[in-house]
Subunit: 140 residues, 4 copies
């Protein structure tokens, strides 16, 4: 059950500094900002794996994303985003993510991010580049 | 199929001004910003239906959200967010949304937003207040 | 004195939809967001005056900005941004702005935005294009 | 001259993770986001100095801010924000800031942030609390 998901589920953890305006008037991380955290972890992982968003001929486009909110996240300095690869196809793949805060083993939110790799010029789906595929396998 | 979803699916349409930083370096609406648009339409509808986020004893919490990205949204002045109620339970309900731009009948993205109504003090699920229930029924 | 500045000071008024996350945990418009409002009014004015940020060979770069915060802006549906041209040089110019809310004649914040027009390729300062110069003169 | 300002000017340096949407369609840090970086450095310093934004009876309000943009900041993983206290009065004070990136000794932007300390309930100006005053003196 998702309220029992812990950091151990995720081979890759990226710590993200929270910003003042991640929190809304109710004092919690705004629900949209969880996707900002997902994005930060995924971009960090892909760039460290060799992706160049500006120059590479093949780049990922988001096809579908989702998030389940388990507990309201209070004002904290940083959150940990856990990342794993749940599916790795020829041109599409799926990340699963969890958001954690210091001192609590259980996820505050879990989510997913489906990427389709496309040719930048034609925007047609193409195979995931080898260097990225190997990196993605390493956290699957 | 989602690429054939039109504005007619949604009884409530809210037009949202785009902002310069809704668009990323690739020239498209950033995928996280679609949820910001969903949020804007939902908040507008609920506030116009009588919800006071600061004073009401019962408020909705997001429980789950999701989005399917159909076409990249180019730099535009505004987007139209379509809103309908797909499920209306005792304490939880589900919105479905579509994002459109001027001059194109088909959705650029579709998504959903599940709300659970809670007592602000205890954060326990409670019944959806009557005035909001009637408003939600009107777009279901 | 700035607390007596009214909409009449500004020949151009642009109404901006507020978003949920313009407001912080203290219940006011976050001070950084005023610059977002300034940006929205300026971009709207320039695009309506014929500027194409993506294709034009000459575009403005921000050189200096500033804001004085007069009163905390409460949760509102929209704000009005007033815009005037306070200085118009060969390659640089200065906008002055004011932020207002419905029902109150006096500014909640005032600010400025200095633009330098540059050649997109070389990033060297060049003359303000004629069509924009005429538009800027019309609100000076 | 501001284009020669280096990190040594600032006794306190806070490194800030950049986010994907700090960068706009032109590939640079959006000019509004520099204020977000200023905010992050100031909040980190004040919270580490004992300020509790939610509970303290006396909190700072932004009275005036400004930024000079020296060079466009390219896509980077993080920026360094330098912070110093340039003026420390009874109830108001002024921070000066500089934004730097890895591998370059010179500031990409410089700015300031004037805070007035107010009683949270009455919003009247009051003396800066002693613990914060000592912390602010340490970086003046």
């Amino acid at each position: 059950m998702s309220h029992e998901i812990t950091r151990e589920v995720y081979p890759y953890i990226h710590t993200i500094q929270a910003r003042w305006l991640d929190f809304d008037i109710l004092g919690h991380v705004n629900n949209v900002e969880y996707y900002r955290y997902f994005e930060a972890a995924i971009i960090r992982f892909l760039v460290d794996s060799g992706l160049d968003w500006i120059k590479d001929p093949v780049i990922p486009f988001a096809a579908e994303t989702g998030c389940r909110f388990i507990k309201a996240t209070p004002m904290v300095e940083s959150v940990d985003a856990g990342l794993r690869v749940a599916h790795l196809g020829r041109s599409s793949m799926k990340f699963e993510l969890g958001i954690f805060i210091s001192g609590d083993p259980y996820a505050y939110a879990t989510g997913f991010f489906v990427h389709v790799y496309v040719d930048r010029a034609t925007e047609k789906a193409v195979a995931i580049p080898e260097k990225l595929k190997r990196a993605l396998e390493s956290i699957s």
